[in-house]
Amino acid sequence: MTPQQWRKLQDSFEEVLRSPRAERQFALETAEAALEDESLRQELRRLVEHAEPQADFLRPLEGIREAMEQGRSLEPGDVLADRFEIVRFIGRGGMGAVFEAFDRKLQEPVAIKTIAPEFAHDPILLERFQREVQLARRITHPNVCRIHDFGEHNGTPYLTMELLDGVTLPESLERGALEIEDWERMALQLFEGLRAAHEVGIFHRDLKPSNLMLVGPKLVILDFGLARPVESNRSNDFSRPGMILGTPDWMAPEQLLGEGNHKSDLYSAALVLVHAITGTPAANHRHGIAGVVSRVVGVTDIAEQLPASVSPAWRRALLSCLELDPKLRPASTDDVLKLIDEYQPPPAKPKSPWSWWDWRIAFGILFFALALLIVVPRYLVRPELKSDSTILMVPTMNVTGARIFDAIGTVMNTSVAQSARFNVWQPERLPGVLRSMREDSSAKPTTSEWREVAFRERAGMICFSTLSPIGSGFSLAVECEQTGSTPTSPLSKSHREFRATDTNGVYGLVHEAGAWIRSEAGEGATEVSANNRAPQDITSPSWEALDLFEQARSLSQSQRFTDAIPLLERALQKDPQFAMGLMTMADLANGLGESEKGFAYWRKAIEAAKEQRLSNREGLSIESRYALEIRDYATAEPMLREWVRSFPNDRQAVQYLGACLLSTGRYEEGTELAHAAQERFGPSTFGTSLLIRGLGALNRPAEMDEQSKLLEKIGAKTLALRFRGMAAAMRGDYERAESLFRELESLAEGDESSRARGLLAHLVADQGRLKEAGDLLDRAIAMDRSAGRIAFAARKLVAAAYLEGEAGRRTQAGAMAEDAAAQDPSPYVIVDAVSVLARNGYAREAERVMSKFTFERGPYFDASRLRMNGEILISRGRFQEGVAVLENAVRTLGTHRPQEFLARALDLAGQHDRAYMLYQRIAKDRWYIWGSPESVWPGTRYRAEAYPR
C-alpha cells in the first residue's frame, strides 16, 4: 500500500459510509467502479465491512486517562486553599501522591498528600482518609508524623502534614544493612511512637517498612491511615469480623482472621524490625501468609535468623511480640519496653507445635488465601450496604398511649429518606407484597412477616422501632438488621435507644435515630450531615397536623381521594406552611383532574419549601416536577439534573429527567436514560412506561412489546395492554390494536378504561373512520359523566366537537366546545375549545372562552395564548397575521414536533408547499398520535396523509 493509494481509499471509504445504510451496497459498488485496481477494491470492501466495530474495540486502556488527569491535579506553583503552594512532587502513597508545599500562612514547608481520583469517588475510602486526620491529629509525638488538616482542591481531597526530609526504611536498607546501634535506636523509637498512639486509643494496623521514615537519627511512623480507636465497639466499624485491612505480608495472624487490636501492631512492628536487622528481602522471611503457614507446618524459628549482635533482651522482646496467639504477647508497648530495660533470662517454655491457635490460624489462613485467590485481591471488604440499597422502615410502634405520635413513622421515614445514598422503601408497596405472601392482605404484618417483606423487596436493611413512655419523657428504641440470604438470617443486627424528656424532644429523637440508621447503613458522618435537616423542619412542628396528614395519606393510598382531601385541609389549617401536606394536596387535585387547584397548591408548597420546610431531596423534587407539570422544560431540566447529581440513587430523579428529555424531543438520550434507569433500579410502572414511550418515539414497536411483557410481569397488566395496543397500531396492525384496546376497556376499571375508549376512538379515526370515532366518543362521554369523571368527559367532548366540525356540523361543534369549556375550564380544554370554535367560524365565542384562560405564566401557557390568538385571527380571515402568531407559538413551545394548527393555517394562507411539508411530517410520524393522544385531534395523521401535494 502506498500513501497515495491509501488516501484514495480513504476518500472512497468515507463516501460509502456517508450514504444511508440502505443504499450502502449501491454506494460501495459505485465507489469500487471508480477504483482501477482489484486489490484496492478488495481492501475497500473489507474496510466497509469492518467500519462499525463494537464500541469497546480499541477503547483506551483502563485507568490511563485518569492517570493522565491525575498528573494534572497538582503541579508546582498551584496554590491550595489560598495557603499551600505546591513546590514539588515527592512520591506516591497508597492512595495518592505526596507533594512538598509551602504554607504561606505559617511560613513553613509542609507535606501534602492527595487522594487519587480512583479513590476520591469512593465514599468509603474517602471516609478512611478523613478518619486519618481526625484520629491521627490526636497523636503528638516526635516519632509519629504530625497530621495537620484535611482539605479539598478542585475535587481532589488532600491532607496536610509534617514535611519530613528523610528516607524510608526500604530505601535505607537498599544502601546497606543497619548498624546494630542504629537498629536498636530505631526499634526503641518505633515502640515509643506506637505507645503514644496506643495511649490515645489509636493503633496503626498497617505497619510495614515503607511506613517508617528515617530522618537522620530519628524514626518517624507514617500513615496512620487505617487506624481506629481501640475503645470503639460500634458493630458497624471496620473491625467487624471478616474485615481485613492492611498489607497481609506484615499483618499479625489474628488480623488475617479479622480480629486485630493493638497487639497486632506489636507483631507487625517486631516483624519489620526482624526484617530491618537481617536486611533480607521480605519474601525470604517467614511472615505474612507464607510465613505463618510455614510456621504452623513447623519450619525453622525466626530466632535462628536473628544475627548474634541482637541482644538477648531484644531477642526476647521481638519473639514475644511474634507470638501467634495475641494473649501470649506483651500486654502493651510499655511491657515491651520494660523487657528491654530489665533483661531477664528467658524462662523455659514447653511448646506444642500444634496449639489450638495454630489450628485456628492455619484454617484462617487457608480461608484467607482462598479468598484472595477467588475474590478480587482487595484488602477492603465493605460492611456497608450497596449505595443504591433500599432501607425498609417498619412503621414505628407507638405505645405511649398518646395518639398524636401515631405519625412518628412518617417523620422517621422522611428523616431517613434524606440520604443521598440509600432509598427508603415505599410503604405504598406493602399491600401488593402482602398479596403475594398470603390470602388476606389487610391484616398488619408481624415482625417475621416484615422480614419476609424486606427480603422479597430486596431491601438491604430493615429497621424496627418503638416509641414508649419513660417517666414523663419518651424512649425510641431502634433495631436495624442487614438482610441476609434468607429472611430469618440477618447478616448483622444492631440496636440503639434514644431518650427525650418531653413531647417536644420527640423530634430530636427522630433526628438522632435517623442519623444513626444512616450511619449503620454505612453513610459517613459528613455525608449524613450534608443532608440532615431537623424532622420538624422537613415535615411539620405540629403533631396534630402530622396525624391528620398521615390519615389522609393512608386514605389516598386506597384511592379514596375525595375522603382524603378534607383531612388534608384540616392538617393545613393547623400548619399552613406544611410543605409535604401542600404537595400531597397538589398531587391529589391533579389526580382528580383539577389541575388548576393542583397548580395553586403546588405553588404554595414551593413557597413553603423556600422556608426550608422540606428536605433537599423533596425540595428539588417538588420544584422540578412542578416545572414539568406546567411544561416549562427549560426550567425543569437544570433542576432535574441537579436532583440527579445530588441524589444519584433516587429512581424518581432519573426517571423525571428521562421524561423531560422525551418531552423535549431528545428521544435517543431520554430512552437511553430510561434504559439505564431500568437496568439499575429494575422495572417499575413509571420507569418502564417511560422506556416504552421512548421506544415508541423512536418507532421501535417490537421493543415496546418486549418491555410491555416486563410491565405485565410486575403486575401492571392494564398498562401493558395499553402499550401493546399502541405498538400494534404503530406497526399498522389495526385489527390487533383494536382487540387489545377492547380487552383493556373490558379489563380495566375507572380512568384506565376511560382512556381505553379514547384510544379506540383514535384508532378508528386514524383509519379514516371519523363517524365511528365520533360515536365511540359519545358513548365514552356518557360513561365518564355517569362515573363523575368530569375532566375526562370534557376532554373527550371537545375532541367530539372537533369531529362534528370536520363533518360540517358547525353549530353542533361550537355548542359542544362551549359546553366542554364550561364543564371543565382547565387550560387544556379551553385551548381545544377555542380552537374548535375558531375553526368553525365562531370567533367571538372563541374570544369569550379564551377570556377564561387566566393561568400560570410559563412557556407552555404563553404559547397556548399565542395559539388561541392565532387561530382566532385565522378565523377572521387575517391569514398572514395568524400564521405569524402561530409560528411564534410553535417557537415559544420550544418543540420540534410538527403542529397541526400551523399546517392548517399555512394551507388557509395559501402556503401550500409549507403546509404539505408539515403534513407530511405528521403523516410519517406514527408516534404523533400515541405519544400524547389527549392533545391530538382524532384522525390528524389520516388527514395529514390525505393532504394533496
Binding site: 474496510l47 469492518h50 467500519a51 483506551p60 483502563e62 490511563i64 498528573g71 501522591a97 517498612p209 498489607t247
Partner: protein, 193 residues
C-alpha cells in the same frame, strides 16, 4: 515510595525540553527514550523491592513520566497534548515489552515477565498476545499512514480525546475523527481474521 530524581537525569530532561521548545525534532524521541529507560528501571525496581510492588501499574508509570517532565525543571511544557502523546509512546513501549516477555514465557522461555497489576488495567493475561498484534499492525499502518497510526497510539495507549489529538497533530478535529474511523476499520479488519 518516594522517588528520588537523579540529578543527572533531571539536567538531561531540562536540556531536552529546551531543545523541544527550540523546535529540535529529534529531541522528542530522545525524551521518550530517556523516560522509557527510567521507567523501565523503575518498574523493575518496583517489582524487586516490595511485595505490593510485584505488579506493574501502568498508571503509576504515567504519573512518574508526568513528574519526570514537569517537576523541578526550569522549563515547563505547557502543551499537555504534547506530553500525553509522549507518555502514550512510552507506555506503549513498556507494555509491548511486557507482552513480549510474557508470551515468550508462555512458550517456555526463561525471561522474567513483568506482571501487570490486576484491576488497574484490563489486560487479560491470556489476551496479551492480541495486544502484540495491535502493536504490530500499528507498525505496518505507519508505513503508509503514519498519522493514523499515531492517532490510534494516542487514543489507545494515552486515552487522549479528539480535541487533544487534534491539538497535538495541528489538524482539525474533523480530520482526527475521519482518520480514526478509517484506522479503526482497518485495524479491526486486520485483527479479526
Amino acid at each position: 515510595m518516594p522517588v528520588e530524581i537523579n540529578a543527572e537525569n533531571r539536567g538531561e530532561v531540562s536540556q531536552i525540553l529546551e531543545q523541544i521548545q527550540n523546535g529540535d525534532p529529534s529531541a522528542e524521541q530522545r525524551l521518550v527514550n530517556l523516560l522509557y529507560g527510567d521507567l523501565r528501571r523503575m518498574a523493575a525496581h518496583q517489582l524487586k523491592s516490595e511485595r505490593s510492588g510485584h505488579t506493574l501499574q501502568p498508571t503509576a508509570l504515567v504519573h512518574e513520566a508526568y513528574f519526570r517532565i514537569f517537576t523541578g525543571t526550569p522549563l515547563q511544557v505547557h502543551n499537555r497534548s504534547h506530553f500525553m502523546a509522549l507518555a502514550a509512546q512510552v507506555i506503549r513501549r513498556i507494555l509491548v515489552d511486557y507482552a513480549r516477555t510474557r508470551t515468550r514465557t508462555k512458550r517456555g522461555g526463561k525471561d522474567n515477565p513483568i506482571p501487570l497489576s490486576e484491576g488497574r488495567l484490563i489486560f487479560d493475561e491470556n489476551r496479551v498476545g492480541e495486544f502484540l498484534f495491535v502493536h504490530e499492525a500499528l507498525e505496518r499502518l505507519r508505513d503508509w499512514a503514519p498519522r493514523q497510526s499515531e492517532i490510534v497510539e494516542m487514543r489507545f495507549f494515552g486515552g487522549m480525546s479528539e480535541a487533544e489529538m487534534a491539538a497535538r497533530l495541528k489538524v482539525s478535529e474533523r480530520t482526527v475523527k475521519r482518520d480514526w474511523a478509517m484506522a479503526r476499520a482497518w485495524l479491526h479488519a486486520e485483527l479479526t481474521v
